[in-house]
Amino acid sequence: MTDDRLRVTSEGPIVAEGRREPLLLPRGLRRVPRGVDELATEHLIVNMGPQHPSTHGVLHILLELDGETVMAAEASLGYLHRGIEKLAESRRHHQVGTLLDRADYVSGIHTELAYAMAVERLMEIEVPEKAQWLRTLMAEINRIASHVLFVGTFGMDTGSMPTFLYTMREREALVDILEAVTGSRMMFNYVRPGGVTGDLPGGIIEKLETFLSTVDTYLDEYDVLLTDNEIFGPRTKGVGVIDRTTAIAFGMTGAPLRATGMDWDVRKVRPYAAYAQLDFDVPLGSQGDCFDRYVVKTAEIRQSLEMIRQLIAGVPEGEYTAKVPRVLRPPAGEVYTAVESPRGELGIHLVSDGSDLPYRMRLRSPAYYNLAVVDEALAGGLIADAVVTLGSLDIVLGEIDR
């Protein structure tokens, strides 16, 4: 970088009474004046993370505290930066999926799908119906697994330990199915340009039906433990309010945007894969607080279950992949494809120069833009609210840092 201001962490140890000038705020808007009377209260600057039981991944946030109130917050990223965009420039197009699995490690299918769609759009490959069906099924299973993980960790952020372990029970069932189909519990490497790597093995539909028959009672358990809970309500209602204008101005997508009432879901507005044939609703919130973001996600779980039921009801025939050359050479050009990942709109902007390697691959990660609002949304609340607000944004550091 051509400036001489270094990283936050390289500015030496931060001592409670040492640092005099306050943290820089992005917009300089939320500065609350120091003590009204002559008693100057010391503002503590604490590091939340990068090792911390509640930041979801290796996220480092500096908080300037006045007692328990957060005066200013600044996120310090990059602990999980692996140079995925640079590495993609020396991987062939069917290998880039292995890198992207590790970007958003919770929802690998969606990231791979976005990239495969980008290559297919450039090369004008027609993906067979069976492959689209398989992609949609795996994507929805992945979505439920990710949302259920969100419910668990969000409950744990508010102190409810049992929710975390109950949601792991659901996630185990889904991850078992994903492992049976793709071969791996997390790094799937399943969706390739042209289709997928393999058809469903035998018995998967039965496993899914077993899962679907028991999951509704479990979702009701979460409602009792969290949604209808008298303690969870005040912890999350009215906390971390991000209204619609702020959300749109910060480029937020996904559940945080839909919690403000904006109806934007890539699966509905710009359908891809088999979503055009599925019948589902898009749950919306109204206040834009943590509770609405949570409720939107739990409602989305139920919608995804509906979608899976519709998918299982009609299994198409056909090939699981189109015939694509062994080495893919998309013609020169640029393309942008977007999918609705559990975190929001995940886009791949692919620049190809006609060779077998991508010239530039840009991953537009939803959590990156969802996180940018945190510097502003955390100020004014308590530390406990900061933890809850961060948890409600459902970030995955892998795709933020890439």
């Binding site: 400036d3 992005p26 917009r27 020396s90 480029g251 942008y336 390697l357 530039r360 840009r362």
Partner: protein, 153 residues
């Protein structure tokens, strides 16, 4: 999904910017001057175009310079527009954060990865890498193992 080229030219003319508008498989892309980027974005957001969301801001290394890409979206009309702006290596572009605060992180990352700077950014620190990394990582001149070398390990 795609705004009409004529509309785009009109909106950009209202900003007083010269632009060449092309349509491709990507969508509608308008090439503008980097120095006018902030004004153009403000006009696109507040004027007729009503492009209220910035979806992404990133850069591409063309070999001779840095090509910035702004990806804008008008949510009500469901239309996407791309702006391309050329900046020299170690050059400058105006920061668009007052218009779209979404670029706060994206500009820091683009500056760090490609070696340029955004004038007027309130917090121009490096975002993703540590101090030891001096070279702009995403430039083509920064070496990386080639595809053959990754196979031979």
């Amino acid at each position: 999904m795609l705004p009409a080229e004529a509309d785009v030219s009109r909106w950009l003319a209202a900003a007083g910017a010269s632009a060449e508008v092309t349509t491709s498989i990507l969508g509608v892309m308008a090439r503008i001057e980097a120095a006018r980027a902030a004004d153009v974005l403000a006009t696109l957001r507040d004027g007729e175009g009503r492009f209220d969301m910035l979806v992404d801001l990133f850069a591409i290394d063309t070999g001779e310079g840095i090509d910035l890409r702004y990806h804008l979206r008008a949510l009500e009309r469901d239309e996407d527009l791309y702006l391309a702006a050329y900046v020299d290596y170690d050059g400058e572009a105006p920061s668009a954060w007052r218009c779209y605060p979404a670029v706060l992180y994206a500009e820091r990352e683009a500056a760090e990865m490609f070696g340029m700077s955004f004038v007027g950014h309130p917090n121009p620190k490096r975002l993703l890498t540590t101090d030891e990394v001096q070279a702009p990582l995403l430039r083509k001149s920064t070496p990386i193992r080639t595809w053959e070398e990754t196979r031979r390990d």
